[in-house]
């Protein structure tokens, strides 16, 4: 099993490197930081712009391969270069990665767990009221793009706040600026800010996973080994949890990797709509400001996240399916 995991890990590392390189090359050839200087007044001389771009390793007069070599050399030592304004990409990343991870982890854990639990329960109670309600809810959410989910929740929050006459739900930023409320006050404030974006993300995850888990569970419920488990005297609950759910989780765990990529895009939209200063919103902002190094850094982060999810699902897979461990 360890060999299996190590092989996968090496494969993922290679993919991360290639993905980041691709993103850098794409960004460096498609985005042009020079344009930023053309709109400045007084407009700087071409020599001055060249000098500045050279300093940032962003000059489009230098061959792409040469720029890439310099950038790659820095990245190997852990330095992602400078943004178009000359500040360090790493400094920005340190703040933004935490912001994004908070959202991603909370949204995924909440959404996937709720989805699996609800989907499995719905399968057990097939065609019951709970099944019909959860299926209806999942289908409706599946039909709504992540952006629209985020906006709709925001609109509902504005309406609720208006109806209640006070701010019940917060939908802007990740914390109240310059708040002085002690440790617990700050935590409470952050949680309040986190609530809506997390729900927006988790809803999408819930819909996907509950549908998938319901189908997988239905496939397993009628199988012989569940009947055998009941026949040898296990309670219905134990048979369902230990034999049916565990087996039905295996395909879901593999599926997790695929949905995670979609989730990352969803995070981008959610951050942007809720005005969070995370990696996703940085991506959209840095494309607008032709910030090549920031774009490459964000793609690296996203690739690492997707690969971490893939590795996590490999681990879960090995834990759930004994055949992997033995083989």
């Amino acid at each position: 099993m360890w060999l299996f995991l190590v092989r996968r890990l090496v494969n993922y590392l290679v993919l991360i490197v290639v993905a980041t390189t691709c993103a850098y090359l794409l960004a460096a050839s498609a985005l042009s930081p020079r344009v930023n200087y053309e709109n400045q007044s007084p407009r700087p001389s071409e020599a001055a712009v060249d000098a500045r771009l050279d300093e940032l390793n962003l000059n489009d007069k230098t061959p792409l391969a040469e720029r890439w070599m310099v950038w790659a050399g820095d990245v190997v030592t852990g330095d992602f270069g400078k943004t178009v304004t000359g500040s360090s990409v790493n400094d920005q990343m340190e703040i933004r990665v935490l912001v994004s991870l908070r959202l991603i982890v909370a949204g995924t854990v909440l959404g996937a767990t709720a989805g699996v639990a609800i989907g499995a329960y719905a399968a057990v109670k097939q065609y019951g009221l709970f099944d019909q309600l959860s299926t209806g809810a999942a289908f409706t959410v599946l039909a709504v793009p992540a952006v629209v989910v985020a906006i709709t929740l925001q609109v509902i929050a504005i309406w609720l706040n208006g109806a209640a006459g006070q701010t019940l739900l917060v939908f802007n930023g990740e914390a109240t600026p310059s708040l002085d409320a002690g440790f617990f006050g700050t935590v409470w404030d952050r949680l309040k800010h986190m609530f809506l974006p997390t729900v927006a993300l988790a809803l999408g995850q819930f819909a996907v996973f509950s549908r998938y888990q319901r189908n997988m569970m239905l496939d397993v419920l009628g199988s012989d080994f569940v009947r055998t488990a009941r026949a040898k005297g296990l309670t219905r609950r134990a048979a369902l949890l230990k034999h049916a759910l565990r087996t039905a989780l295996i395909p879901t765990v593999t599926y997790f990797t695929f949905t995670f990529g979609v989730m990352m895009a969803g995070t981008t939209f959610t951050e942007k709509v809720y005005n969070w200063k995370g990696m996703g919103s940085w991506l959209i902002d840095s494309i607008a400001t032709n910030d090549v190094h920031a774009v490459a850094a964000v793609s690296c982060f996203m690739a690492v996240c997707v690969m971490a999810a893939a590795f996590l699902s490999d681990l879960l897979y090995a834990w759930l399916d004994p055949r992997v461990r033995v083989g």
Binding site: L15, C22, A143, N215, F258, A303
Partner: protein
């Protein structure tokens, strides 16, 4: 997934005389089963209705697309403007219908294109295995890792002036990966079937076997996936257009309309509610059809239904 296994003799209706029992073909039995499912009927009716009003609606309205009513900015729905007007005096009904047209066209084209790419890539990888498989699957994995949103957003400024057809091609280029993986898996098992072996021993070239025997025998998977891809294409298009990376003015799509309306959704709900509602209804209808198709085409899932 052989054809003959699913042909079932129609039960003879009593008192019908000795007429030879007709064996319904696969597709007619699929059709019958789908029409018996309520959600599929609902989906089909909804989509037909939406397509009809998307193309006929603008003809019925007194307003032209792009025409501005300088006497009415941000007016609520009225007999004059059925769904109200937006901040530049455009009729919301007409622009929503034109946006709906664009979203439907983009969704269909992208789904067909990406499913075709997926079928070819997956079938070639699964049939040849070895180096072909490694290379193709590696590209697939890479595209799954690179956030497609990022690439589309970066490439977009370069291709902005090429119109929405290029946008369709770009969207299709990032939607085929998951289907391709499934096609590959199915091809690996299909290539051991007798009819494929027979064709191979008769000397039929590999590409002909793939297009004539392997891909047609996966038609049910491909049809279901194409349906699902319609809804994902519409969703991706909406998201990109929302951030200004998609359909550009003067063209409109449901995504760009939603982004125009989102800021004033509370004060002027009609600029937001209609486009969002239609979008949700459209994707929901497509998903319901896809779900019903899967049940009708996949013999395994019949058990569940």
């Amino acid at each position: 997934m052989s054809m003959s296994a699913e042909r079932t003799a129609a039960p003879d209706a009593p008192g019908e005389g000795p007429a030879p029992a007709r064996t319904p073909g696969r597709w007619s039995s699929v059709l019958r089963q789908m029409l018996q499912t309520r959600r599929v009927v609902f989906g089909v009716v909804t989509i037909v209705l939406m397509v009809v009003i998307a193309w006929v609606g603008p003809l019925l309205s007194p307003w032209e697309f792009g025409e501005r009513d300088y006497a009415a900015f941000l007016q609520p729905p009225s007999p004059d403007h059925w769904w109200g007007t937006d901040n530049t005096g455009r009729d919301v009904f007409v622009s929503t219908m034109v946006g709906l047209q664009k979203s439907v066209i983009i969704g269909l084209l992208v789904a067909v294109l990406s499913t075709m790419v997926a079928a070819v890539v997956g079938a070639f990888a699964g049939y040849f295995l070895g180096v072909t498989d490694r290379v193709l699957m590696w590209i697939t994995d890479l595209l799954l890792v690179l956030p497609s949103f990022l690439i589309l957003a970066i490439l977009y400024p370069v291709l902005r002036d090429q119109g929405w057809v290029v946008f369709v091609a770009l969207l299709a280029a990032f939607l085929w990966m998951v289907t391709a993986k499934m096609v590959r898996g199915m091809t690996i098992s299909l290539k051991e079937r007798e009819y494929v072996l027979a064709a191979r021993y008769m000397g039929v070239p590999a590409w002909k076997i793939i297009f004539r025997h392997i891909i047609p025998n996966m038609s049910s998977l491909l049809i279901v996936d194409a349906t699902i891809n319609v809804s994902s294409a519409i969703i991706v298009e909406t998201s990109l257009s929302y951030f200004g990376f998609g359909v550009q003015p003067p063209d409109v799509s449901l995504g760009s309309l939603i982004s125009d309306g989102a800021g004033q959704a509370v004060t002027h709900p009609w600029t937001f509610v209609f486009s969002t509602g239609l979008l949700v209804l459209l994707v929901l209808a497509v998903n319901l059809i896809g779900d019903g198709l899967r049940d009708a085409l996949d013999p395994q899932s019949k058990r569940r239904a």
